[in-house]
Symmetry: C2
Subunit: 175 residues, 2 copies
């Protein structure tokens, strides 16, 4: 069920992990290779340059983003609840998209391609939220509330204790 991931996936995981734990400044080919338990040469066989590594993360944002929206549509708890729940970080949050998003956020403003991928992701969510909330402005409002929770996650805060209260507040707005 959980076989050892391929070297390529391990390398991308290592890239994410270092971004989340130490930030963009700690990203060197050597550090990523060491964490993925390959040599620098081994890394460069799979990703021909540092930029290829970045593109790998962007592709992951795209693929996992689609999966995430599909899961949201099918979630018994409903789209809004699913969205807010996946926006908070708590000790047990280990969803793949959550880690990929946190890693990508560390690169915002550094690479235009990352900014664009993140904008696309937030806008896709906005559209899905609009379908389920029935109001364009309220959809923006819920979307941006989730973004705020993500910013706090980026700062290392655990916001899970706010989740139920926030859902109750949105319920008062008819959401």
């Amino acid at each position: 069920m959980m076989p050892k991931p391929s070297a390529k996936e391990r390398i991308l995981d290592a890239y994410q992990d270092i971004l989340i734990e130490h930030g963009i400044g700690a990203i060197t080919l050597e550090a990523v290779a060491a964490r993925a338990e390959v040599s620098k040469g081994g890394l460069l066989y799979h990703f021909g340059s540092k930029e290829a590594l970045l593109q790998g993360l962007i592709d992951r944002v795209g693929h996992l983003g689609v999966t995430d929206l599909d899961e949201a549509r099918a979630a018994p708890e409903g789209v809004v609840r699913y969205y807010l729940r996946s926006s908070v970080t708590d000790v047990t949050q280990d969803k793949a998209m959550h880690r990929t998003t946190l890693a990508a956020m560390r690169l915002i403003g550094n690479e235009e391609a990352v900014d664009e991928a993140m904008r696309a992701y937030t806008h896709n969510w906005r559209d899905l939220l609009a379908e389920h909330v029935g109001d364009s402005v309220l959809a923006d409002f819920v979307g941006i509330t989730g973004d705020g929770l993500y910013l706090r996650a980026m700062l290392g805060e655990d916001t899970s204790h706010l989740l139920d209260d926030f859902i109750a507040i949105l319920a008062r707005l008819g959401i």
Copy 2:
């Protein structure tokens, strides 16, 4: 009224500008010095190292943060409105704290001292909002809405068109 800023201030402004426009990857002593119109040696006279430059930005977050909260307390429009307005980016937004915050956000996750300064700033705002909203959870909610708007600003989006609608939504919650 607006004399030419001292070299030290110009250097810190240049540091911020490059962070906002090109990200942490574009920060080199040479690039900052060029933008501030001093030489590399001139820069290093005022800030003895790259880390000193970072500390300068952190200090600015602290000082401007205090000023910002004071202005919010005195704002005729009220604290909540002031907060949301200063969280959106539009073409005319040139408040000093806004630019400093956007620059500091580019460094989140890279330097623990930055994360701490940003957490302190958001928590001070939360406390002020709680005084004026009268409810702890609602204060967190408004605070995080502003954070979400800031994240969008970080992505290069203009969210000013949402401001009035968001204020109206909060009014429905008795805020």
